[in-house]
Structure formats: structure tokens, C-alpha cells
């Protein structure tokens, strides 16, 4: 089966055709009723689903004929605050198909840094919007796996999910596709060379200073004089230079001129800088900055917190349709070693599992879920429109992109061990637009391996990609993508 064009999409398509003749390549308004937002949260390094929401207890593993001492099976959670300095526990979350793991351990960072993690409160709070899709992916190479996780392994035109989102909803946005995290395959450009450059991801090196590069604020010339000088340069002088005539066919020169005349002008007229400043500069701050600093109090030192705050502002101000944020391979510390939560992000992120499996997985699951929780709360508190019937979260899809899972073996009963990359895994996506509180597929407790719609078949990257496009109401007719519409709310 392949996906079909929905009625709403068809109407939107017709309207788009009608608008086409009047569309001059500049921004046009997106009807509020048609809005969607995409948040890609990068779980860099291989976030294992069997160490989080599909974890297996020792008892379950043994009952199914497996050897829990040699597999990554968890002890049963006692239901009360666990005792001991080292543990790895799992418990079911009532009313949900999910499990929640808890872990306590330490990481050596010059000195032992202790941490205790429990995923239970997150699942309890958000299970209605959580959908886990099991999958067996096609690469255990980080960069390749990351790119495939956002392109469905090149399933549809070679575009990333962020690019598809930007094409579908980004025509009215000044920065349709913003990549707040850097240095991974999750933010690599897709393979569609025909993609309009407006929809290619805009990289943000530092969310705190980036807004400066979006306008003319803080310069020693008045905005009016800059505007006049640009006008003389672009309209009167540039076309008449000998250089311009000599290199009239240069695509690079044409790209610069087009960017100046359209996108730069759009950014400045939308006053993007003023609305995105998170504070800390002489230019002041956006109206929401103080609230965001309460939610993300260490954003000055923790760039991923700053990314989350910026992601919210980009979506709230309707500057973007798609935002990508989250850990890359860089470790992050905040404050001094004796401070609570000093070691904020492990070096290599989830891939720290090569050094110690449980700390790599549970430390980082806690990290990304905490970010997600705060961002979801912000979006829930933001009305979609003046009627206030829906929140922005009601139209948001959050995708926890990861490249692969981890190997399930361990030395007998070890709590500290290393794990390699594994194709078998599953992904988490969250949205009121999805039929949540659902696991698609299951886990074989004897091997702690996931399976797809039945025990003999597996979903792959393409199924996650098709599910996301379906929730985002992207037209996939003729694509040959699998029909995952059963997972999308009508």
C-alpha cells in the first residue's frame, strides 16, 4: 500500500496552485489552520530503546529462555526509592505499553561524578503523546546512520524530514529550516540538488550570538543609511562593474545577489534579531527571554539549553517550521566539579556507551528527555492562535532521531561494561498528531531484540520517515512510501 493524498492536503494543493501565479518568490502567509511544527531532537551516538521504553527485566528474559546475566536485562524496580549506589532497574508504567528504566552510577571525570536517573516521571507525564516504533536500521556508521534517520535512508527525493517540512510549510517563514545543533549527519543536507535554497537548513553556531547576524542592530551606521548604501550598491553600482559583466554567468555571484535582495531583506523587515535575542548583549532581549531563562537557567553555559530556548522562539514567532537541536559529540560541563549536575552532557553523548553502557544510555536519555519535557511545556503553554482552542504543541511533532541501537551482550551480571553499535533498535516520536501511548512492534525478551509488525519482520528508517511525514501532512503520493496512516490521528 502507498500513501494517498488527504482531502485537506488536496485542498491545500489546489489553493497553492491558485496562489502560484501571484506568488513572487517572497513570503506568503500560512493559514493558521494548516500549521505544523517539527522538532528534531538529536539523540547522538545511538540511543537504545531497550535501555529506555522497551527495556526487559531479568525475570522476563529468563522466563523466555534467555540468559539475563549475559544480556542487558534490568533488575525489577522495587516500586519504592531504590537503595544502593549502583543499580539498573526497570518497571512497567501502568496504563501504558512502556517501560521506564532507572539507573544510579558514576562517571570518572577526573573524579567520580555520581548521578541517579529515573525515566518514570517522564513516561507518566507524556505517555499519551509517545509513540515508539521498533526498527532495524541499515547502518552502524554514525554519520551515515544519522543521515538515514532523517531521510528515511533516502526514501523520498533524498530530502531530509526537515527539508520536506520546510517545503510544505516554510514558504511563509523567513528561516524555514533551522539547524541549531551542528557536526552530525542529522543536519547534513539531503540529496535533492533541485531543492530551493530557502529550504536548506540554516546552521546556528551559537544561539546566544546568532541573532546579531540576522539584522543591522548595533552597527555604527543608522539603519536608514545602511539601507540607502545597500540600495546604491545593489541597484546602481554592482550591475555596472566590470567584474559583474565579466562574471555574469557565475552561480556563486548570483547566489549572493539573490540572498541579498530577497532573504536578507526579509530577515530585516521581520525584525528577527529583536525577537530572537536571549539577552546577554547590549541589544536587549526578546520579550520571552526572561521566562526562557527561568526554564533554561544555565543557557549561558549549556549550549543545548540555549538551542532549546532558541527553538521555542523560532517556532513561536513563526520564523521557522522545522528546528533541529540536541547533543552532538561534545561533552558539556556547567559550573564547577562540586556543583550539582556539573557534568551536563557526556563526551560522545550516547556513544559514551563504548566506555560504559548504562551511564552512556541512561545519563543521556535523562538529558534529552529533560530538554524535551521543558520544550513541550513551553509549547503547551503557547496558544496556537488568538482563539486559544489549541496550543502550539497540538500541532508539533517531536522526533528523537538516533542512528542505531547498542549491542545487548555483557560480561556475566556486569553493571559496568561497554557496548558496540547494533542495527536493531526503535525510535521515539511524540505528538498529539500521532496515535500515542503506543508501541508499534515488540521485543523478544529472550534476545532483547525488537521486531516489527510481527515477529518475522522489521520496520526500518523508511517507516519512521513515512510516519513523520504522515503526521506532518506532507503529500507523499506517488512516493511508494509505506502507508503508516494508521499511526496518525485523523
Amino acid at each position: 500500500m502507498t500513501s494517498r493524498m488527504s482531502r485537506r492536503r488536496l485542498l491545500g494543493h489546489s489553493a497553492g496552485l491558485a496562489l502560484g501565479s501571484a506568488h513572487l518568490g517572497r513570503l506568503r502567509a500560512q493559514p493558521v489552520g494548516d500549521e505544523r511544527f517539527l522538532v528534531v531532537l538529536t539523540a547522538h551516538g545511538g540511543a537504545s530503546i531497550t535501555d529506555s521504553f522497551l527495556a526487559v527485566s531479568r525475570q522476563e528474559c529468563a522466563a523466555a529462555g534467555g540468559d539475563p546475566s549475559r544480556l542487558v536485562a534490568f533488575d525489577q524496580h522495587p516500586g519504592v526509592v531504590p537503595s544502593g549506589n549502583r543499580y539498573a532497574l526497570v518497571r512497567p508504567v501502568p496504563g501504558t505499553p512502556f517501560r521506564a528504566t532507572a539507573w544510579r552510577g558514576s562517571v570518572n571525570f577526573g573524579q567520580e561524578i555520581e548521578k541517579a536517573v529515573d525515566l518514570y516521571p517522564f513516561v507518566q507525564k507524556h505517555h499519551r503523546d509517545m509513540l515508539v516504533l521498533t526498527q532495524t536500521v541499515s547502518s552502524v556508521n554514525h554519520d551515515t546512520g544519522q543521515a538515514r534517520s532523517v531521510t528515511g535512508a533516502g526514501a523520498f527525493r533524498g530530502r531530509s524530514i526537515q527539508e520536506e517540512m520546510a517545503v510544505r510549510y516554510g514558504a511563509s517563514r523567513v528561516l524555514p529550516n533551522v539547524l541549531l545543533t551542528t557536526g552530525s549527519g542529522f543536519v547534513r543536507r539531503g540529496r535533492d540538488v533541485s531543492l530551493d535554497p530557502r529550504f536548506v537548513g540554516e546552521i546556528v553556531p551559537d544561539p546566544l550570538s546568532w541573532p546579531i547576524a540576522l539584522g543591522s542592530e548595533g552597527l555604527p551606521l543608522s539603519r536608514d543609511l545602511i539601507r540607502r548604501a545597500r540600495s546604491i550598491r545593489d541597484e546602481l553600482l554592482e550591475p555596472e562593474t566590470s567584474f559583474a559583466r565579466t562574471f555574469a554567468n557565475s552561480r556563486e555571484r548570483e547566489r549572493w545577489l539573490r540572498t541579498r535582495q530577497t532573504r536578507q531583506a526579509d530577515l530585516e523587515s521581520a525584525e528577527v534579531t529583536r525577537k530572537l535575542l536571549l539577552g546577554g548583549t547590549v541589544l536587549g532581549a526578546a520579550p520571552e527571554a526572561s521566562r526562557l531563562r527561568e526554564v533554561f537557567p544555565t543557557m549561558e553555559e549549556d549550549p543545548v539549553e540555549a538551542q532549546a530556548a532558541m527553538a521555542f522562539l523560532l517556532l513561536k514567532n513563526r520564523f521557522s517550521s522545522s528546528v533541529t537541536l540536541g547533543p552532538n559529540a561534545t561533552g558539556i560541563t556547567v559550573g564547577s566539579p562540586n556543583d550539582q549536575d556539573f557534568l551536563r552532557q557526556l563526551s560522545l553523548s550516547f556513544d559514551y556507551s563504548h566506555t560504559d553502557h548504562f551511564s552512556g544510555q541512561l545519563w543521556m536519555w535523562d538529558r534529552v528527555l529533560l530538554l524535551a519535557d521543558r520544550l513541550i511545556d513551553l509549547l503547551k503553554a503557547e496558544p496556537l492562535d488568538s482563539e486559544g482552542q489549541e496550543s502550539m504543541w497540538d500541532r508539533t511533532v517531536m522526533y528523537f532521531a538516533t542512528e542505531f541501537g547498542r549491542q545487548r551482550g555483557r560480561p556475566p551480571n556486569a553493571l559496568e561494561f561497554t557496548s558496540g553499535h547494533a542495527l536493531n533498535n526503535g525510535v521515539l516520536m511524540m505528538s498529539p498528531l500521532l496515535r500515542g501511548n503506543q508501541v508499534v512492534g515488540g521485543v523478544d525478551p529472550a534476545r532483547i531484540e525488537t521486531y516489527g509488525p510481527d515477529s518475522q519482520s522489521h520496520y526500518s528508517e523508511v517507516h519512521a520517515y513515512a510516519t513523520l511525514l504522515g503526521a506532518l501532512d506532507v503529500d507523499t503520493s506517488g512516493s511508494g512510501l509505506p502507508d503508516m496512516s494508521a499511526l496518525v490521528r485523523g
Binding site: T182, L221, L225, T241, T246, R263, Q264
Partner: protein, 214 residues
């Protein structure tokens, strides 16, 4: 010696292409000594490029236009050399941040250590804004530090415009540039001081595409 095993028809075409390139090159050189010219045909047995307007060598449209943008650091270095200022302190954003720290990635710099950006990223929209900001901040610094050239009368302003063009573009200003920038001066009379005009002229020359594409 390597044996040339290419088919004879390829050898023939290559000979023709080489002949065309040499002919264009020689003609362009010859044109340097001419004050004008008429359309001409480029000879060749298989390819005739048709009439080429060649009033000035620079007026010919290049057959190959594979231009590249200077990276942020190269651009800052070239500005620093043109403005007689040290590159390290040439440009500070909001008076405190190094411009390349803020805008480097937008202008194809890499930062492998923390951002893990290991190869230049071209085509970011922020690159256009970043270039303008670096130019304005650098020009302002030069004008504040060293003062712009004198602009008391038309002659001095004409000299000033030429001097900015020579600094930043290694050429004299064209008549059109003289005319439009003089007009800007007239427009600004009473609105802002002359240093603003100097900074604006510097900014315009520093951000013409010929200043950062190569």
C-alpha cells in the same frame, strides 16, 4: 614518454579547443592596447564562438565563471590589509565579541573542536548579513582611528572615492561610482557627519562582489 592512445577524433577536437583558447587569450592581450573594438569572430575549425563584444578586456563575459567566496578569515585579512589595521582587532561585534567568533561559520570557517564543523558550509543566509556587518564595523574602525580622506570640496571627495576604491578594490572608481557616491554625499548633507559618508562609501566598496569573490 607516455603513449597517446586517444582516438584521433578526440585529438582533433582537443587541438581545436586549444586553438580557440590560445586565440581568445591572444586577442584579449591584443585588446589591452586598443581603446575600443568591434565585434569579432574567433576562428576555429570546429567551434565558432560568434561575435564577442570586447570594448574592454573586463567587459567580456568569462567562459568559465567558477567564482568562490573568500572565507571569513580571508575576507577579514584582506580588509585589514586594505584598511591598515591589525586583523586581530579589526572587527568587534557590539564592541566586545570577535567578529569571526560570531560570524565565522556563516562565512565558511570551520570549528571542529566543539561545534564539530569540519568542512566549510556555503550558502547560509546569515553569510550575507555577516559580510555587511564585518565591512561596516571595520570601515567604521578605520574612519574613527585614522579619519577618512578629506571631503571638503568636490575635488577632495572625488579623490576620497578613488582612494577608497584603490584601497579596497585595487582600482580607481568608475565615473558612475563617482557620480552616485557624490550624490549620496549631497543627500546626507545636514543628516549626518562626514565620517558617516566615508564609512558608507568604504562599506559599499568593501561589499561589492568583486571584493570577496575570486
Amino acid at each position: 614518454m607516455f603513449r597517446d592512445s586517444r582516438p584521433s577524433w578526440i585529438k582533433g577536437r582537443l587541438t581545436a579547443v586549444v586553438a580557440v583558447v590560445l586565440a581568445v587569450g591572444c586577442s584579449a592581450e591584443a585588446d589591452l592596447s586598443q581603446s575600443g573594438g568591434t565585434g569579432r569572430s574567433v576562428p576555429g575549425d570546429e567551434a565558432d564562438l560568434g561575435p564577442v563584444d570586447a570594448a574592454q578586456p573586463g567587459d567580456q563575459t568569462a567562459l568559465v565563471s567558477e567564482l568562490k567566496s573568500k572565507s571569513g578569515r580571508r575576507y577579514v585579512n584582506s580588509l585589514a590589509a586594505a584598511l591598515d589595521l591589525p586583523a586581530q582587532t579589526l572587527c568587534r561585534e557590539l564592541g566586545e565579541l570577535d567578529c569571526l567568533d560570531v560570524h565565522g561559520i556563516s562565512l565558511q570557517e570551520v570549528e571542529p573542536r566543539f561545534l564539530r564543523v569540519q568542512s566549510p558550509i556555503n550558502g547560509l543566509v546569515t553569510g550575507a548579513v555577516a559580510l555587511d556587518r564585518i565591512a561596516i564595523l571595520s570601515c567604521d574602525r578605520h574612519v574613527r582611528n585614522q579619519g577618512g580622506p578629506p571631503t571638503d570640496d568636490t575635488f577632495q571627495r572625488r579623490e576620497a572615492i578613488d582612494s577608497w576604491a584603490r584601497r579596497l578594490l585595487r582600482r580607481d572608481a568608475t565615473e558612475l561610482e563617482q557620480e552616485k557616491l557624490e550624490a549620496l554625499y549631497e543627500e546626507l548633507q545636514g543628516e549626518s557627519d562626514e565620517t558617516q559618508w566615508s564609512t558608507a562609501v568604504c562599506f559599499i566598496f568593501a561589499t561589492l562582489t568583486e571584493s570577496f569573490l575570486y
